[in-house]
């Protein structure tokens, strides 16, 4: 088990290093001098040279890479070219919106998907199965911003239960902040839940054909008990894999929903940074996302081992 963990950790570190080289190189290849960009088109060459020196852009490539990489360990991602504030501050402002949003939608999507998957698998081929899989097909096909608009119309415009958009900040109190996140979280969770429910159902159906399910039934265990206690845990591996992928998406791929709800999240930050050629911000956010994906994958690998004892004792 310890060896398994160490191995996974090392793989994660190597991935991180490789990703950092790719991200850094892309920034180098993309045309445009950051110093020139910051000072504008009319700046004198002397001023640009001075700023280049100040930013350390005149140093050799390898040296700049190492200092950039070293910066991550002290959470120094450099300064934004457009806003002239530390990138870390920009990220910190946004992550307090994006991370809770991702976590809430993930919890919601799991809470919807697993019971629906179980329900459909238990009634395979019956009307209930067809209806729930039809709904999930609909959920997969319909884009999340459409759900978002419907939700805004029903809960914000019509019922006036929650605000239609914007984020008051956590300083406004826990409840107002959560209220601003609940609709975007549902809009994000529905398509994810639809995918996850289908995966859960499929995985369960495969497991239900296994010999040990028959053994459990021959022991006198009722059908429902067998489904929950014997089948579900064995079906968890594909479900966990999809969950891991979905979390990475929910953290960074939420730009449309953020725009619909006018939320100051990471998605909008990265979008703005790209349009403004603020590449140092792009770099910082991308590296953060890489770290997040690696950490989530590590957690998924660990949870595999928790679910399946065969992975625990493997070399």
């Amino acid at each position: 088990m310890a060896a398994y963990l160490v191995k996974r950790l090392l793989v994660g570190l190597v991935t991180l290093l490789a990703a950092s080289i790719v991200v850094f190189s892309v920034l180098e290849i993309v045309p445009g001098d950051p110093a020139q960009l910051m000072l504008g088109m009319n700046a004198t060459p002397e001023a640009v040279a001075a700023l280049r020196e100040q930013l350390g852009l005149d140093l050799p490539l390898i040296w700049r890479y190492l200092s950039w990489l070293g910066g991550f360990f002290v959470l120094d991602f450099g300064r934004s070219y457009t806003y002239s504030v530390p990138v870390s501050e920009l990220i910190a402002e946004r992550i307090v919106v994006s991370l809770p949003l991702a976590i809430i939608s993930l919890i919601l999507s799991t809470a919807i998907a697993i019971p629906v998957g179980l329900f459909a698998a238990a009634r395979r081929g019956k009307a209930a199965d067809a209806v729930s899989m039809g709904l999930s097909q609909f959920g997969v096909a319909v884009p999340n911003f459409w759900f978002a608009l419907i939700l805004i119309y029903v809960f914000a415009v019509w019922l006036r239960m929650v605000p239609a958009g914007g984020f008051p900040g956590w300083s406004a109190g826990l409840w107002p902040a959560l209220k601003a996140l609940i609709l975007p979280a549902i809009a994000l969770a529905l398509p994810q839940a639809a995918i996850l429910a289908r995966v859960t159902r499929q995985a369960l159906l495969e497991v239900l054909g296994e010999d040990y399910i028959r053994t459990a039934r021959a022991k006198g265990m009722p059908w429902r008990y067998v489904l929950w206690r014997h089948a579900l845990r064995n079906a968890m591996i594909p479900v966990l894999t999809i969950l891991g992928l979905q979390f990475a998406f929910l953290l960074a791929g939420t730009i449309i929903i953020e725009n619909v709800f006018y939320l100051p999240g990471l998605g909008r930050l990265i979008f703005q940074a790209i349009t403004q050629r603020d590449l140092i911000v792009v770099e910082g956010v991308v590296m953060l996302l890489v770290v997040a994906v690696i950490v989530v994958n590590l957690l998924v690998d660990l949870s595999y081992a928790l679910v399946d004892p065969r992975l625990r004792s493997r070399r």
């Binding site: 060896a3 040990y212 028959r214 053994t215 459990a216 022991k219 006198g220 265990m221 009722p222």
Partner: protein, 539 residues
């Protein structure tokens, strides 16, 4: 008064009638043997008793278990019966246990469910029954997971689950088919003891007449969903009044005719010298590698052209590793193999082609060794890329047709897919695939153990005929001594990686000298011996 009474049981799934008027009964303390070939409806009969049939199944007739009408009972009633009064053991121990639950949990679960005992009491009872089936807690703690146990040990766990609550009836569906003969003997003895201890009724389902003859008081013989004959085991099997019973008995003792003996002349076909294979074992820690496991230990032997040799031994003794090395699918740690005078050691894949062409393999599982999406023509012609000159499509077609003809199939069969054939026919296809390059040696790894007795007799005949006609040499890897006796001239007994005994097949199997060979011979079921013993017991 019977414990279980089945009268006129009919079962159909869709349009196919699986069972037709089956009658069967089991008394307390009685062992009823249910024999038949695959597709005869044995397992479906068992699943009907448990009411674990597929949803589409339609059943009629009467099934009474200690006064309860099984076919009319509701699901709650059946849940109360299953695992408490009726236990069931399945054929495939490797997959019958839930891989994510410890063996303790899986045994205790049923006990808690049926008796309402608390966790500690249920675990105590689980310990007792696991100890009873030969898995004492000191060596097999309850926290073990199925993957940490061997096949035989897992089957003991399944038996413990089935017998934990001292059922009145135990249904054992091919409980030892997947195990080697030594484990089979141990499991059968365990079942017999459990019957004697608790006056439990046992419905023993098997395709192996010898096993049933040894175990059962009465026997029921089924064929395509119908009962052919039923009665006292010894009388039924010794008198063989019903033609199908006689056919089964003859097939299971079938010895193909091989008049011509290929004499040892000329250079040896295969020479194996001091062959050893080590596998790295689990690391002790991150920095300390474990002691390597020695799968094959200094094995030397030779085979001449046309010789038929058996390699027998328990599962895990190194037989298959040895075969893989001869086939150059695995590299030896040390030692040498030379085939037709050419050493295989250190040869590249292209240099090995010459050897591969003259050496082919037939595997145990005729289902698993074909790509289901390829037609027979492509499957059989696969080894042809080993030839010097690539045949033209017409030549290739002719070669496939000839190979199919040699194994008793028609040339038209080359356009079909594997699923269109029965198990025996598929094994013929895999033999055709092995024959197409005109090999000098065929290595057959348990080639008939997945087949029914009558088909197995046909395949053995085919092997014998090809040996007589084409002079192909065989290395048969098997744990089944009947097969070794039927088809081989010489035998090697393997034990813990070493060849412990070798000689003429009849000599070694009649008068085994090494401990390993003695144990193997004693454990092997033998129909003739079992009938004689039964008749003597009855006087």
């Amino acid at each position: 008064m019977s414990l279980l009474e089945i009268e006129g049981l009919d079962l159909s799934i869709g349009d196919s009638r699986i069972l037709k008027g089956v009658d069967l009964s089991v008394a307390p303390g009685e062992v009823m043997g249910l024999v038949g070939e695959s597709g005869s409806g044995k397992s479906m009969t068992a699943l009907t008793l448990m009411r674990l049939l597929p949803e589409a199944a339609r059943v009629s007739g009467r099934v009474t278990f200690s006064g309860i009408d099984i076919l009319a009972a509701d699901e709650a009633r059946m849940c109360a019966l299953r695992g408490d009064d009726i236990g069931m053991v399945f054929q495939e121990p490797m997959t019958a246990l839930n891989p994510v639950k410890s063996i303790g949990e899986q045994v205790a679960e049923g006990i808690r469910w049926h008796t309402g005992a608390n966790r500690a009491d249920a675990e105590a009872r689980a310990k007792t029954i696991l100890d009873r089936v030969g898995l004492p807690e000191s060596r097999f703690p309850l926290s073990r997971y199925p993957h940490e146990l061997s096949g035989g040990q897992r089957q003991r766990v399944v038996i413990a689950i089935a017998c934990a609550l001292k059922p009145k009836l135990l249904i054992a569906d091919e409980p030892t088919t997947a195990l080697d003969v030594m484990l089979q003997a141990q499991i059968l003895e365990l079942l017999r003891d459990l019957v004697d201890e608790n006056r439990m009724g046992l419905l023993l389902i098997s395709h192996d007449l010898a096993v049933v003859a040894d175990m059962a008081d009465r026997i029921t013989i089924m064929r395509s969903g119908e009962v052919m004959e039923a009665g006292e085991t010894a009388r039924t099997l010794s008198e063989q009044l019903h033609p199908y019973t006689r056919q089964l008995a003859l097939a299971s003792m079938h010895v193909p005719e091989r008049s011509k003996v290929h004499a040892a002349n000329g250079p040896n076909l295969l020479e194996v010298q001091q062959l050893t294979r080590d596998y790295p074992s689990r690391r002790v820690s991150l920095f300390t590698p474990g002691e390597p496991t020695r799968a094959v230990d200094h094995v030397s032997f030779s085979m001449h052209a046309g010789q038929s040799m058996a390699l027998v031994g328990r599962s895990g003794c190194g037989k298959s590793t040895l075969a893989r090395m001869i086939l150059a699918l695995d590299r030896p740690t040390s030692g040498d193999i030379s085939f037709r005078g050419m050493s295989l050691a250190g040869k590249s894949e292209s240099e090995l082609r010459v050897a591969r062409r003259d050496m082919q393999v037939v595997f145990q599982d005729p289902y698993g060794s074909f790509d289901p999406r390829h037609r027979v023509e492509r499957l059989v012609s696969e080894p042809l890329h080993l030839l010097y000159k690539r045949p033209t499509p017409t030549e290739r077609r002719e070669m496939v047709a000839r190979a199919l003809h040699e194994v008793g199939l028609g040339a038209d069969d080359m356009h079909k897919y594997p699923h269109e054939f029965s198990g025996g026919q598929r094994q013929r296809i895999s033999i055709a695939r092995a024959l197409i390059t005109r090999p000098k040696l065929i290595i057959a790894d348990e080639p008939v153990s997945a087949l029914d007795v009558s088909i197995r007799a046909q395949i053995l005949d085919l092997f014998a005929e090809l040996n007589q006609r084409l002079g192909v040499a065989y290395l048969f890897i098997t744990h089944d001594l009947t097969v070794a006796r039927a088809i081989t001239d010489d035998v090697m007994v393997m034990h813990e990686g070493k060849i412990v005994e070798s000689g003429r097949t009849a000599d070694v199997l009649d008068n085994p000298r090494s401990q390993a060979a003695k144990e193997l011979v004693a454990a092997a079921p033998d129909l003739h011996r079992a009938i004689v013993r039964r008749l003597r017991e009855e006087g």
